[in-house]
Symmetry: none
Subunit: 269 residues, 4 copies
């Protein structure tokens, strides 16, 4: 503690004093663009590894960077996700797992935790999809290797869980939100991102056009559905869509319904 | 009731007597390949609209063909899904919504149900992702048209919810399970399936190669992840994978870890 | 799947085209008189075995045709029951169990399911009343015979659970709703209904006055359940029950099963 | 995102490369001495404000640095607390609130959140003790001043909640764990700690004997909370409190805020 208390003074006399303007400005409100979800592990410092400035990352941290599916738990995760997406309007959500994760180690021997750490045991239920996938598909792995795979699979499991939240489902639909699966490697200082085209975790390319990111395809089904909404389509590119094409587009609507949708989407609100 | 009781006799003297062998055989066990999830609505008869024989469809029916996310409810849905996938080994799951769905009508005015039908009100919480998507993206629609879109969006929402189940997550991973989003139109007798390439609900093509179905891409993220597992890859096609490529494949594993994985997957189990 | 997709087309060109009027009419709304609750088992087709037309049966299907007591679960069962009784005003609820039920087999070895199928394990808690009744009153039975009794006892257990729902409780009170316990036998195509007067499952008599049933059914079910147990009966009054009568008592058991039950109930263990 | 991805590279080539030994060592395990619980707010960087090195702080972050009482929720908070205390053996737990907290703003108008942000609304139930204390004891405050008090009271509320966890209760008993209530002020860069002797939030004294704290902290917190309320104090003994002393009492309030509080507490209710 002594060290921390001393640190408080150092922060104020050093970093703070040289960034007074920033803090003064931040005191009027935050405008983070990114929701960063990671583990409580002391070896992770989100702002440090992303070199992000104060005010850039809205952060959720718990054991195992786990986000229970919508309705499956009543802890702080759902509320923080809702607040970040709905109230702050973040445009990116990063789930960042890390090597040597204690929570994932626990997941690999979950049953043994029931007595000694009942809350951890219960909590890991939300990573059960990860556990079963490992149990049924990685039987030939063990130890460190199995743990590495567990860490990787779990960030993907949590991405799936995130999709079940209404606020996320709706924003993904109109491509206003992007989900990213990251793994931070303590020993190399490297961060890898899941690339849905190469089906692999790779070094993220900061020059890649986000729009081109296949991540959109796999990581946001809703975008695909977008075309379901004629109005939206028109408001984008093609000013005119042939009756025929539209019928193909929504064959399950009667032509007059389609007509009403089209007219409605032409700004008649 | 009288009509039903009479029907029982008719069934036995007609259909049953002409299919005794089938029933005799079925009495020894069921081997359905498909889990069919649809609404309790009396206007839907799964076996009739698919012309499926007795023994072919394992069926879950509730109000709104809703499947709560894993852990979000403790009703029969999760148990039936688990039993179908784990114990029966079904290979396809169809979520079939339908036009004029009373549950979706209720969803569009959910708040008004709290007093009169509290259980329905609570139940529709698991379709909240559908409701919010509509509220934020279809403000120009109303009435029948909005209902049609609600029905379509909801089957996609429920597909998302299905993914959060451990048994499904694991089987999707190795492409042993396929998810299908259907809409049945009472007035036309037509069934449309969601096509993730055309981003639309279209008439399903029974001649299409399922393997080619883009549905796999969008509707099963796990398949993509498959390559994460070198062992699996080898057990399929390429008997040899260059060290280099493998490093690209799992750059987050040390080469000796990769080595152990490769050896492990070469049948050393 | 191919077969199903082909079936969709067949349905539309055959059955649908010959019943267009019916479907057109149904598209304006459903008015089912019966809520049919049965198992997800693929070998059951409610409309087929009752020869019911589309629009006549509002259907709930899950593993084991189980309806948790009011407040005991937050799945779709309660919502569908509430919707059927409150919104649709159905007048009859049928709980239809069936021979060779996998869920009931699971119930007889429930503890063994905890690890492999946790959701099924949890779900079967709502049939625990059936399990305990069997454990304490049918110790002399086993195998197929025990399973047959389990199926029969369970539909009665679920009838009890249904009574705990406010909407049902209130309608039963003024005799506006009738509950029916059915067992469908796959190998014989026969359906037996619980007769609360004869305290037995018998071939339903479509000419019987329905009005004479419900009340007794409502008031005397528990007592009936006891009489279902031959051993118990004997321990009461009649020291001897004629073969014939016993056959009437449990016609859904083969005579040798009956024989084994009798011997068993004569304290031969 | 681009900026973040670029940051990842910068981190690796700068900070990481100059601290390789530290990270190599950390890859073998973490040994944090402190569990740092704070808000998800993007303007807070725990390691920055405490000048702590990677590996020193085990961090839990959610909306409002709230920890539900033991058994009140099944989110990640309890599991992370349990893991930190039981598995890692941390000796200090810091609950760090901050000025301009959005969650506390929400708490002051909680009812208005029910529709728009239902999960946040539910989550704030765990700060209800804070809300009621304010409602009943700070009626004369409003706006920024009320918010400042809400932030301060809430960290004390959460300290109380922490005490309800078995693992914490037991370690506090034998003085193996110390709880600290902090408030971080964005605009001044200052952190104040609750002093249970002076019943006030003061600049922490890194030279103070830590041993002198915990017990009093454990035993007399509730009493202290009362003294936090000037009005209450006066109603007890000292009829007059010097401006100076009051400033010391609530140095985290501007003098005019103090003035308004004093006037308010002079019987204007």
């Amino acid at each position: 503690m002594k060290k921390l208390l001393k640190g408080l003074r150092q922060f104020k006399s050093n970093y703070f004093s040289t960034h007074q303007e920033l803090f003064e400005q931040l005191s009027h409100g935050q405008k983070p663009r990114v929701l960063f979800i990671t583990c409580s592990d002391s070896r992770i410092d989100p702002n440090l590894i992303t070199n992000a400035e104060v005010g850039e990352l809205f952060v959720i941290r718990n054991a195992g960077n786990i986000i229970p599916p919508f309705g499956a738990a009543n802890g702080g995760e759902g509320a923080a996700v809702e607040y970040a997406v709905q109230a702050l309007g973040v445009e990116h959500i990063i789930v960042c797992g890390h090597s040597h994760c204690g929570a994932m180690k626990g997941l690999l021997k979950r049953s043994s935790l029931e007595d000694e750490m009942p809350l951890v045991y219960e909590w890991l239920r939300h990573a059960e999809a990860t556990r079963q996938l490992l149990k049924e598909n990685y039987t030939h792995l063990e130890g460190e290797t199995l743990l590495e795979v567990a860490v990787a699979e779990n960030v993907l499991t949590q991405i799936e869980n995130l999709r079940t939240y209404p606020v996320i489902h709706s924003k993904l639909y109109r491509n206003k939100l992007h989900l990213h699966a990251w793994i931070y490697h303590i020993e190399t200082g490297e961060v890898l991102e899941y690339d849905s085209i190469r089906h692999d975790f790779v070094t993220p390319d900061e020059n890649a056009m986000l729009e081109a990111y296949p991540v959109q395809c796999v990581l946001s089904l809703p975008e695909d559905v977008e075309d379901l909404l004629p109005g939206h389509r028109q408001s984008q590119t093609q000013p005119e869509v042939a009756e025929a094409e539209r019928d193909v587009m929504m064959p399950w609507l009667s032509s007059d319904q389609v007509a009403r949708i089209r007219s409605g989407s032409n700004g008649r609100r």
